[in-house]
């Protein structure tokens, strides 16, 4: 469903621009430097935006186009920029994303890269490069992220000799989530390639010396081998694959590597689906550790169910995260009243219906709206009377106005520390979320009460 009424202007957008997603994805590849082909401002703004969430350095290089380049084309600056990045950072890979400017002036990046390779490539090995087209006027940061992942596998993966490995394409999740996913794969005895992998590159330890390129990320050798994997698991019920394709589909098409598309494993229902698949792929039963995690989670659901039952939630942010969160909230007895995203996949409604099937009755379905900004969400909130907001920190002003708790999840978290350490996925992530949601509601009640109860 599209938003109503359909305003022309956008106020306080609930989406980010497309190259930002691509830059984040590139940051999760070993030895890579993200590079924006455009003017300086875009790269600087995005760095600033990303830094405020992760509190980690992130260098994003830029072609620094000026007016004359905009008129005559940015080829020379792109080449010069690549040369400078190469000599300064010694990267293994440069991940190049375009911006609105270079898309509008029509720079043919693949052609320029070919020329560059011809001009510079003799006598020295250049770093690899991957390019992705990311005009922000045609898609948000999520399309940028998935587009970069797709470009990486299409431009780097080869028909490697068949390994027993599994490709895992989780999409944009937190560093803690990437770490946990890798732990799960290991515990199932599955060797895996997780692309990208932001577990170390955007959540690294304190250092003695500044690293030009942070440690960690998906190794290039592993990416090259992705064509030989046994299967791909890709998270994202709202990836519009008809329009944009996807990394998993590309691997399936080029290397006959079967693709399994699941929702983000948020909450018990969606996580069970992942574990069922992992059981099949590994021919093992779920390790005891996770059986216990799930058991504790169910136990806590029971302990806390009364505090959350019937509470009305507005969920907003990236579409796939919204879907997963809605699945989780519905299964603990919270009533999702609005699922909103700035994205426009056209698939949000369908996905929300799919994950809440059997839990929400037909008359309990939330309003599901794409292409929303925070002006629209605030207007809806006025009608809906929510008890809590669930989303990134850009909803903070609204939560404050409504005087209700905001459960901070996803990206960006600009008003708290540790956004990269928030765990969302799997049973463990659901446990964290459940405790946070429940305690926030209890705290709200406690604070609002004239009596200072010290028991629940």
């Amino acid at each position: 469903m599209s938003k109503m009424p359909n305003y022309i202007s956008t106020t306080n957008a609930c989406k980010l621009c497309r190259p930002l997603g691509a830059a984040l994805a590139f940051r999760g590849i070993e030895g890579a430097v993200p590079y924006l082909h455009g003017s300086q401002g875009c790269a600087t703004y995005m760095r600033r935006y990303i830094i405020s969430h992760f509190n980690e350095p992130i260098d994003i290089a830029s072609s620094s186009l000026s007016e004359k380049h905009a008129v005559y084309g940015g080829a020379a600056n792109l080449k010069l920029g690549l040369k400078n990045v190469t000599s300064k950072y010694h990267p293994q890979l440069i991940g190049i994303a375009t911006t609105c400017l270079t898309e509008t002036i029509g720079d043919d990046v693949p052609r320029i890269l070919q020329e560059y390779a011809k001009e510079e490539g003799t006598g020295q090995t250049l770093p690899l490069n991957v390019h992705v087209s990311t005009p922000s006027y045609a898609g948000s940061h999520m399309e940028g992220f998935h587009g970069a992942v797709k470009s990486v596998v299409e431009q780097l993966a080869t028909a490697a000799p068949t390994k027993r490995s599994i490709n895992l394409l989780p999409g944009l999740v937190s560093s803690a989530d990437y770490r946990y996913l890798s732990e799960i794969m290991q515990d199932f005895g599955l060797s895996s390639t997780i692309l990208p992998d932001l577990s170390e590159t955007l959540d690294g330890p304190a250092l003695m010396e500044y690293e030009k390129i942070p440690q960690g990320g998906t190794p290039l050798a592993a990416i090259r081998g992705m064509g030989g994997a046994r299967a791909t698991i890709e998270f994202g019920r709202t990836m519009n694959t008809n329009k944009h394709g996807s990394g998993g589909l590309s691997l399936q098409e080029h290397f006959a590597c079967p693709n399994h598309c699941l929702g983000l494993p948020l909450g018990i229902g969606e996580t069970d689906r992942l574990f069922a698949l992992l059981e099949t792929l590994s021919s093992r039963t779920t390790p005891h550790k996770y059986v216990q995690e799930r058991g504790r989670l169910v136990d806590s659901y029971v302990d806390g169910h009364k505090y959350v039952f019937g509470k009305r939630a507005i969920i907003y942010g990236d579409e796939d995260l919204v879907v997963g969160l809605t699945a989780f909230l519905a299964e603990i007895g919270i009533k999702p009243v609005l699922c909103a995203s700035g994205g426009k996949s056209g698939l949000l409604s369908e996905a929300v219906a799919a994950v809440t099937k059997g839990i929400l009755g037909a008359d309990e379905m939330p309003r599901v709206l794409e292409g929303m900004d925070f002006f629209d969400i605030a207007a809806e909130a006025e009608q809906l009377g929510p008890d809590l907001l669930v989303g990134h920190s850009k909803g903070a002003p609204l939560a404050r106005k409504l005087n209700i708790p905001l459960i901070r999840v996803g990206f960006p978290i600009h008003d708290r520390i540790g956004g990269q350490r928030l765990l969302h996925l799997g049973y463990r992530g659901a446990q964290m979320l459940f405790d946070t949601v429940t305690n926030s509601l209890i705290e709200k009640k406690q604070n609002d009460s004239p009596i200072g109860y010290s028991y629940m």
């Binding site: 202007s9 300086q40 401002g41 600056n77 509008t104």
Partner: protein
């Protein structure tokens, strides 16, 4: 260690005392060098956005607007329209067929909704390319809605942040001269170049009030359209952060004969000097007497605590990297006041004269740098064994990753650092970072289990 500066950048770094002074600046950023600079649009946005009762509409794709949504701490005592992020969110069809219609409709929609006193329309890079006629659309809506609708020519690639300041000044110049100036006292000023971060302009205004001076317009912290329209009635422009609003002061001098003085409100020395300079301008012994009294009173309030910090911080080392170099001067002095040594100082957009002056007031060996980048900055921090780094959000993780203290002195800060109280806050900020026990555990000061010997 390998040289960290790109060869082409060497001319933009100077080590004080080693060679005769030389530095190259005002260059376009080098492709691929990860400059800390932003763009023209950013400069315009910084200057104009604190005008709280104006509509600020960013004409372009969504990113340019979304990355500047409420990122800075400019406070308003009334309307808060400036804290919202308005965009035309251009889509593919707009890029192909032009965005003028959408802009016009968005403007009308937003003006009807918010009833602003004026509207600023910022152009971003692609607007320059698709050739939308901003002037024409603005003129049309201005007639229709009967409020000033002013285009800001801030296409990102048309220079750097400083060109953005200029564009912002041009935009404000269109407002000035359109308001009624009777009833303005002869002892009156405009405050230019303070953005009311964390409420700073309220302090400054209070100082001037206590001296018996009327402030006509805040340009632009806690700014109001109608004040700016009558700013030409003031007797003097008091300009801080010369980079941002000096152009406007010059235009007002030319157009209305209003003289201007440059001041800084940062640090005891500069803050006092600012008040004295204004008193001197009005050449009124009473005003001067009140200024002296004020300075004495305020300094007495903060001095004892500052001494305490100075005692603790003596001999610690500071590095400075800020947007405009004017701030760097005050910071050098402020660090001196709390007993610290400045070992590196740089800015994104300083001029040659600025750097020359910096070289003069800093000690031998101090690194002076223009338009730096993370690799250089991190190598300077390590080389000079810095205790605290002063910069903005983009510089913070560089310091923290290396286990170096940090003080945010940029537009995003939430602590008032101007005025007398600001100096105390600054000392406190520096103290609370430098003296934290957490540095005991960072790799540069300690080993950790698992380290290979």
């Amino acid at each position: 260690m390998e040289a960290t500066a790109l060869k082409e950048r060497e001319s933009q770094i100077h080590r004080n005392g080693e060679k005769p002074f030389s530095i190259v600046c005002d260059k376009d950023s080098l492709a691929g060098a990860v400059s800390q600079r932003a763009c023209v649009f950013c400069g315009s946005r910084v200057v104009l956005y604190p005008i709280a009762d104006a509509l600020h509409l960013v004409h372009g794709p969504i990113g340019c607007a979304v990355y500047t949504w409420d990122i800075r701490g400019a406070l308003s005592s009334g309307p808060e329209l400036h804290r919202l992020s308005f965009s035309t969110d251009l889509q593919e069809m707009d890029v192909i067929f032009g965005g003028e219609k959408k802009l016009e409709a968005a403007l009308i929609e937003l003006i009807d909704r918010h009833q602003p006193k004026a509207a600023f329309v910022y152009s971003t890079c692609i607007v320059g390319i698709i050739g939308d006629d901003l002037e024409a659309v603005c003129r049309k809506v201005e007639r229709l809605k009967d409020i000033p609708v002013i285009p800001v020519q801030s296409e990102g690639f048309k220079g750097n942040k400083r060109s953005g300041y200029k564009a912002a000044c041009n935009a404000m110049a269109r407002l000035i001269g359109t308001g009624d100036t009777k009833d303005i006292s002869k002892h009156s000023i405009n405050i230019l170049g303070d953005f009311n971060l964390a409420g700073e302009i309220w302090m400054i205004r209070d100082y001037f009030k206590r001296m018996g001076i009327e402030v006509v317009a805040n340009i632009t912290g806690d700014g109001r359209v109608n004040d700016i329209r009558r700013a030409h009635g003031a007797a003097l422009n008091v300009v801080q952060c010369s980079g941002a609003t000096m152009d406007l002061a010059n235009m007002m001098e030319e157009g209305y004969g209003i003289p201007s003085i440059r001041v800084s409100y940062f640090g005891i020395e500069d803050m006092s000097e600012a008040l004295y300079d204004v008193a001197r301008f009005f050449d009124d012994p009473e005003i001067m007497a009140r200024a002296r009294e004020l300075v004495q009173e305020e300094v007495a309030k903060i001095y004892p605590e500052i001494q305490k910090y100075k005692h603790a911080l003596k001999g610690k080392k500071a590095a400075i990297y800020v947007g405009g170099s004017f701030k760097a001067f005050s910071l050098v002095k402020a660090f001196r006041m709390i007993g610290m040594d400045v070992v590196m100082v740089g800015s994104q957009t300083g001029t040659k004269e600025d750097y020359e002056e910096l070289a003069e007031i800093t000690d031998p060996g101090t690194i002076i740098v223009d338009d730096s980048n993370p690799l250089e900055l991190s190598s300077f921090l390590t080389e000079k064994e810095v205790d605290i780094f002063v910069g903005g959000v983009k510089e913070r993780p560089i310091a923290y990753k290396l286990g170096v203290g940090f003080c945010d002195h940029n537009h995003e800060r939430k602590e008032a650092l101007a005025g007398f109280t600001g100096m105390l806050n600054f000392a406190r900020e520096v103290y609370s970072s430098v003296m934290s026990p957490v540095w005991h555990f960072v790799p540069r000061n300690s080993s950790s289990p698992g380290d290979k010997s």
